[in-house]
Every structure is written in structure tokens, then in C-alpha cells.
Amino acid sequence: MTGATALPRKNGELVFDEAWQGRIFGMTVAMSHDASFEWREFQAQLIAEIAHAEREGASSSYYERWLHAFERLLADKGLVDPTALAERTHEFEAGHRDDVF
């Protein structure tokens, strides 16, 4: 197999292609350290999310699926309300908010 289906072999690729991937990864790890949830609870969400996306043939990236899984876990745990997140995201999109991390 060559081209798009070939498995990349190099050892030294970037850990995170984009900054937000590192942020979502770091938030998940930090919250599991603080025992907001168990790592395996997140893992179960991620497995479900990946299986769902692959069934649907979705083109979403790995960390996009990670984000969805994380959001769902936070919603299930009652930690972040999806509506609140949608509103906050809209504030960022509209430029009403520009917190820097």
C-alpha cells in the first residue's frame, strides 16, 4: 500500500498539530488528576465517539472526536451545561470575548 493508505513511519512528528489539541488534552488530563472524573470514564466516551464517527464515515479528526467525548462527559457529570458552552462559544466567535490562555 502506498499513498494515502500507507502508514507513516517517521519517528519525530509533532505531538500536537495545533494548540487547541494540546489544550483539550491537557484539560482532560488535569481534570482526571483532580478526580473530577476517572480516566476510564473519559476513555469509554472516547471509544463510543470514535466508533460512532467511524460508523457514520465522519471526516472528523482524532482530537475533534476527543473534544466531543470530553464535552459529553462534562455534560453527563453535570459539570458543564451544553447550552452554556454553546453560548460561550458564540461569544468567542462573535469576538465579544477573547480570553487568552
Binding site: E13, G26, M27, S59, L85
Partner: protein, 207 residues
């Protein structure tokens, strides 16, 4: 990239920046609720970007190569044996390559991986391609990685889970008899510890 974005006439942000905004919104909510400290996230990201790489796992492998008693402990109880070297936080089983038996690690469901020992998984490890083919046709996949095993060799596939991670103990290559533990550790690659590469004998000229 989703095709949906081509259907609109007006300008749209790239999907990446939409995701980036969403993640910033999420972080801002979590910080506000004191569920996350941005400094803690910085520390974790920094650690994974700079400090936590395959060298922790490489130290474990090199120790096992030079210390038969350690190797025995490592194969019997990986979790405890890596704690001896200061690594932990993960239930680990170490599987040993030897003549005629090659081990290869995959996570068929997602991307379980011994982070503390070998860092974050490479892109291909998380791909559907690798996750499905490693089980179905390991010999072909290994050949694509440049590992050509004799037909008689047995290939064992280990499917990682959230509960148990695997690390391959590669074979110590010939010609390394005089090398120190630290020198040996430098030769051990991430891919060798996933089981998609062998540790090669050092080139005579280089030593």
C-alpha cells in the same frame, strides 16, 4: 476537511479555528468554575511536548537488557517493575520479543497507550487503518514498517485497553555487548516498543 464548507458562498472560518474557539470557550468555562487551572494545563502540555517521550520506556528496556533479574521482574509484573525506575500510573504488561516470536501492540477501540513511558501516540497509531489492519494482517503492516519477519515467526498482537497497556521488550541487537546501559537506551525507539520496528545492530563505523 468537510465538503459542507464549500457549499456556502460567503467566507467561513476553517474548521480548525472553529474548534479552537470552542476549546477556548470550554477552557474559559472550566476555569470560571474552578474545575481547571490554566497553569495546570500549561504544565501538562509542556511536559508532553518536551519531557515525556519514548526515553522513559527506553530506560526500562535498557535496564532489562543489562540486568536479567530486573528483566524477570519486568516480565512478571510490569507495573511494579517500572515503579522501581520511578515511572508509574499505569497498569503495564511487558511482552518480550525473542527469536521466532514477535509482539506488536495496538488499541483497536481508540488509542490506549503507555503515555508515561513512550509519550503520546503517533498519528498512525490512532488511525482506523492501523487499528483495523494490525489485527487482520499484521505481517503486511509490519512489512510496510520495514520489518520483514520469516514466515515461521509467530506474531502476537496485544490489544491495549484503558485498564491494561502493553510495552514490547525488543530483542537486544548483536554487536552491543560492550555498550553501557545509557548507550543502549539511546538505541531504543518508540516504534520498537510498540512492536512495529526492531532495534538495529549499531553500524560498525559508528562505534
Amino acid at each position: 476537511m468537510s465538503d459542507a464548507h464549500h457549499e456556502h458562498g460567503h467566507h467561513h472560518r476553517e474548521p480548525e479555528s472553529v474548534l479552537s474557539l470552542r476549546v477556548r470557550a470550554l477552557e474559559s468555562l472550566l476555569v470560571e468554575k474552578k474545575l481547571v487551572a490554566s497553569e495546570a494545563v500549561d504544565r501538562i502540555v509542556g511536559a508532553y511536548e518536551q519531557d515525556i517521550g519514548p526515553h522513559n520506556g527506553a530506560k526500562v528496556v535498557a535496564r532489562a537488557w543489562v540486568d536479567p533479574a530486573y528483566k524477570q521482574r519486568l516480565l512478571a509484573d510490569g507495573t511494579e517493575a517500572i515503579e522501581e525506575l520511578g515511572f508509574g500510573g499505569v497498569d503495564l504488561k511487558v511482552v518480550e520479543n525473542r527469536p521466532g516470536v514477535h509482539n506488536m501492540v495496538v488499541c483497536t477501540l481508540c488509542s490506549c497507550y503507555p503515555h508515561a513511558l513512550i509519550g503520546l501516540p503517533p498519528v498512525w497509531y490512532k488511525s482506523f487503518e492501523y487499528r483495523s489492519r494490525a489485527v487482520r494482517e499484521p505481517r503486511v503492516v509490519l512489512r510496510e514498517f520495514g520489518v520483514d519477519l520469516p514466515e515461521s515467526a509467530e506474531i502476537r498482537i496485544w490489544d491495549s485497553s484503558a485498564e491494561l497497556r502493553y510495552l514490547v521488550l525488543p530483542e537486544r541487537p548483536a554487536g552491543t555487548e560492550g555498550m553501557s546501559e545509557a548507550q543502549l537506551a539511546e538505541m531504543v525507539t518508540r516504534d520498537a516498543m510498540i512492536g512495529v520496528a526492531l532495534v538495529r545492530s549499531p553500524a560498525p563505523a559508528a562505534r
